[in-house]
Each structure stands twice: as structure tokens, then as C-alpha cells.
């Protein structure tokens, strides 16, 4: 770039009316455009190299090193961090819980989002208001939403305990986060509230891409409501459903904020997710960055395999 820097921007192209002059200079022009392209992409490249590529290399090095939070790099110790990560008492329970949470969340969330999208797909003033109401929670951060539900679920401050006692559903204070089962479902409810609008919007775009003619033709052929949904709507929105599923699975596997705030992994470590395990290894108690790095490399590898699998499966379906 420095070779031609004096002329890159300052040299003005030929004045109007002398277009023919451009031709012989074409080679120089394209080289200049190449340099300009690199100059405009340079900030992106700098960010990607410094804050993405370097950290990926560093985390790989850390995962095979004895690397404490306070004493830093103490030299290679491969593959100790990886065996230590898998041998942790809480590793397999965390894997199990994370997968269970992911399956439950994905099924319920995508189901709700599809239902909502079907309800609000007509374009009227009323459905416009509905869409806004359903979308507002997705402007909140997940941490803010978790704090809100933490108060909402509390027996002291929350509104549900009194209502349920009055209705005779429960005869004591209701514990939303006190047992492993309750904690899971209460968190799923929070996630549905926060994310339903987001996925509804993605599915709505797909639903509105279906031409009304297709439905009319099916109606004339005598297809009922359910048949139309089953044989027209579902197949036509499948790419969007697949996108939603991939986003939801990835997001749920990496769940952290909601459990950190609502349950801190409890009760009895029953709601500990993998990312919480990474965080705890690095910053709470163990202070072992090498172990945390090994764990997070494992998570990255699992996620890559899963995503490649999902893309393959999608592409296979498309063909």
C-alpha cells in the first residue's frame, strides 16, 4: 500500500468528457481499488485478528498449560486440563442438565413462537398491537429479564404465591426455584417470555412469504384447516423453522445469565450448565484458567460438530 500511497486518494480521476483516457490506465486503477479495498477492510481485519484470532490461539495454548488465575502460565501440562475437566464431579451432571434444558426450551419455545405467529399473521391494527406487546420483552436484556423474574418468583415479593393460596391451588408459599424441577420450568417460562417475540418475528416473515393463491387452491380442493397447515404451511416455512431451531439450540446450550441470576446453579447444583462450569473453573473457587480453557475448547468443538451436522442435515433436506 505504501508504494502508491501519495496517489491513492488524492489523484482525481479524469475530468468529465475524457472517459477514453481511463482505458489505458485500467490496470493501475484496479490496483488502486484493490489497495483502497484493503484500506477500508483494515479496521475489520485488525479487530478480527486482535480480538478473535489471537484469543483463539491463546485459549488453545492455555488449554494445554498449567495456567492459574493469579500466577499465570506455568508451562505445558497436556493433556492434564482435559482429563481434569471431564473427571470433575459436576461435569456429566452439567452436560446432562444442559442437554435436557436445551431440548425442553427448544420444543416449547419454537412451538409457542409458531402458535403466536399464526395468531398475529393477519395484518390488522389489532394484530399490530399484539405483535408489539409480544415483542417488547425482547428489547430487555436476558440479565434484566432474569432479575425481573427473580423478583416475580420470590415468595416475599412475587404476586403468584398469594393468588395460588387464595385459589386453593397451594396451601403454603409456592417455591418456584426451590426444587430442581420447579427451577427448570420456571427458567423455561422466563425464556419463553423473553424470546417468543424474537422467534415469532422470524416465523412471521416466512408465513407472509406464502402466497394466498396456494391456500385458495387447497381450499377449493376441499382441504381443511389442519390439512392446509400440515401440507402447505409447515413444508413452506421449514427453512425458517430450521433456522429458529439452530439459533435456539445454540443459545440454550450456552445458557449462563438466566441460571447465574435465578438459581446460581442450585438447588444442589441441579441447574448447573456447561458455561457456568467454565465460569466457576476460572473465577470462582478453582481459579484455574487452564481448566476453564480446556472446558471451553471442548464446548467449542462440540458446538462445531453439532452445527456442521445441522447444516448438513438442512442441505440434505433441501436437495
Amino acid at each position: 500500500m505504501s508504494v502508491q500511497s501519495p496517489t491513492t486518494h488524492s489523484a482525481s480521476p479524469s475530468p468529465p468528457g475524457t472517459v477514453s483516457v481511463l482505458k489505458p490506465r485500467r490496470h493501475g486503477l484496479s490496483r488502486r481499488r484493490r489497495a483502497a479495498g484493503w484500506a477500508y477492510a483494515a479496521p475489520t481485519a485488525a479487530f478480527v485478528v486482535v480480538f478473535f484470532v489471537l484469543p483463539l490461539l491463546l485459549v488453545t495454548q492455555m488449554s494445554v498449560s498449567d495456567w492459574g488465575l493469579f500466577n499465570g502460565d506455568q508451562g505445558l501440562n497436556a493433556p492434564h486440563n482435559f482429563t481434569a475437566a471431564v473427571d470433575q464431579r459436576l461435569f456429566w451432571p452439567a452436560v446432562r442438565f444442559t442437554i435436557e434444558y436445551t431440548v425442553v426450551t427448544t420444543v416449547i419455545l419454537i412451538g409457542c413462537a409458531l402458535g403466536l405467529a399464526l395468531v398475529v399473521q393477519e395484518s390488522t391494527r389489532w394484530t399490530g398491537l399484539l405483535r408489539t406487546a409480544i415483542l417488547v420483552p425482547s428489547a430487555l436484556g436476558l440479565a434484566s429479564a432474569s432479575l425481573l423474574f427473580y423478583a416475580l418468583y420470590s415468595p416475599d415479593s412475587g404476586p403468584f404465591g398469594q393468588v395460588m393460596q387464595d385459589l386453593g391451588i397451594s396451601n403454603g408459599p409456592v417455591s418456584f426455584l426451590g426444587t430442581p424441577g420447579h427451577a427448570l420450568w420456571s427458567t423455561v417460562a422466563l425464556i419463553v417470555w423473553r424470546y417468543a417475540g424474537f422467534y415469532m418475528l422470524l416465523l412471521l416473515v416466512a408465513l407472509q412469504g406464502i402466497s394466498a393463491d396456494v391456500y385458495e387452491a387447497a381450499e377449493i380442493d376441499g382441504a381443511g384447516r389442519w390439512k392446509r397447515f400440515r401440507h402447505i404451511t409447515l413444508p413452506l416455512i421449514r427453512p425458517s423453522l430450521a433456522l429458529c431451531t439452530i439459533l435456539c439450540v445454540t443459545g440454550s446450550l450456552l445458557a449462563f445469565d438466566q441460571f447465574y441470576i435465578l438459581t446460581k446453579g442450585g438447588p444442589d447444583n441441579s441447574t448447573l450448565t456447561i458455561v457456568q462450569l467454565v465460569y466457576n473453573a476460572a473465577f470462582q473457587g478453582r481459579n484455574d484458567l487452564g481448566l476453564a480453557a480446556a472446558l471451553s475448547i471442548t464446548v467449542l468443538a462440540a458446538l462445531l460438530v453439532l452445527n456442521i451436522g445441522q447444516f448438513r442435515w438442512l442441505r440434505g433436506k433441501e436437495n
Binding site: 482525481s12 484493490r34 477492510a41 480480538f51 417488547v136 440479565a143 432479575l147 416475599d156 416473515v205 447465574y260
Partner: protein, 288 residues
Amino acid sequence: MASTHSVRAARPRSTGVANLAVRTPYYVLTGALAIIFLFPLFWAAIRSVSPQAGTAQVHGWGLGNYDTLTHYQAGIWQYVLNSFIVSGLTVVFTLAVSLLGGYAFARFAFPGKNVLFMLTLAILMVPYATLLIPLYVLLDRIGLQNSLLGLSLVLTLFQLPFATFMMRISFESVPKELEEAALVDGCGTLKALVRVLVHAVRPGLVTVGLFAFLAAWNDFITPLVLISDSTKLPLPVAVANLRAQVMGVIDYGATEAGVVVLALPCIVLFILLQRQYVRGFMSGALKG
């Protein structure tokens, strides 16, 4: 969204009394849905100013809980300021980098272009936690650990996949003639960008800026890992820490007030810029 009108208009509609009888349960059910989604927000807002045992607002209605926030550690204003600094810097960095990057990817051919673009999108594939562990060490080495600047640089990186993608398709949808006319008029590519193109891609910039602001304002795990100085914490982590202040006893009133302070800017922005917000999704859904 333009094609959404009249999708159902062609269908015959029942009229009059029959219509009302059919539509009433629909309005009741969908109205209930809207209430379910709005209820927690209104509840938190009302609860934060209503009388409640165990909070600063025991008798009568008032702002006692907000008063608690102003006296919590560095005071709520410090945390609000931190959050605005981090979000502001993230928005500025994201807009600058993705404006130039989007221009480069959409309009120029240069060696390594596809590799760089794929690498930028690949940021999406890597979990935050996997990057935050080494970034904690890396930022320490370059003296940016525990700083709002370092935090916003990392948050900018997380925004780059969406922002670069969005700005690339924004530039690609601008007619080439517009740029060529500017070049013939004697502008360099930079002048063409600043004088002409930046106006043509303004809607994309608004969407990118909105998403960057919301993401930076709300991010939790990044400051949790990268910021250890309690006076430099952004709002979400500060409010989460506040719960555990008094041993064993949680001040729910202050938590609810904190949630209101956290949520208010997001909801206002969302209502004002709903169209830009929705467009962000559409581009992702159509091309993704």
C-alpha cells in the same frame, strides 16, 4: 412487510352479528396473550414504587427504592454513566468499522476478501465463554483489563458479524451508478463514501447502531468476566450484585427499581425504532 397486507383480504368475511359472535372469543384470547407478555413489566414498575415490607418503601407509595439505588456503593448514577459510556463507545466503534468494512466487502475486490468475511461471520460460531477466558489474559497484557474501553472493544467484536453482514447488503443494494457518478465528478472513493453513499445506507446504519446499543447495554457475562473494579461495573452486573448486599435478606424493592432503570432506555428505544428493529430480523431471515 410490504407484501403482508391483503394476504387474507381475498377471503370472504362473515359480517354483522355473526362476525361479532365469532370474533369476541378471539379478542378475549388474544387480549389475554398481550396481557401475559406485558404484565411482568407493569408489575415491576408498580411494585418498585408501592409499599412493601423489607424494602426502603414500607409505608405508602413513593420513590424510596430508587433512593436506595442512589446510595448503593458508587451510586446508581455512576453505573448508569458506565453503561452509557460502554454502549456509546460500542455503537461508535461498530458503526465506524462496519461502515468501512461493509463498503470494502460490497464494492471492492481485494485478495483475502472472502477469507476475511467468512472469518468475521465465524465469530458467531464461537461461544462467548471460549473467547472471554483468553481475552481476560490478553486485555491484561495490553493494559485494557478492567477498563470500559477494553470492554467496549470486546463488545464491538461480538457485534461485527451482524453489523458487517448488514452493512454489506446495505451497500450492495445501493445502485452502482450513484458511486460512479460521484467518482466521475472528481471524488475519491473516500469522498464518494462520505458525501454520497453514507446517506444511501443510513437505514442500515440505524439498525446496526440500535442492535449494538441494546447488546452493549444488556450484556452481562462480558463485564462480569472483564471488569473487577466495582466502580467500573455497568448497570446489569451492578444490579445483580445489589441483590446480595444485605446478608441473606434480599431487597426486592431495590431490585425491582433496578430492573426499571435497566429496562426503560431499551423499551423507549424499541418503541421509537421498532421498524428498524424488525428490518434487522428480516435481513437475517431472508439471507440467513
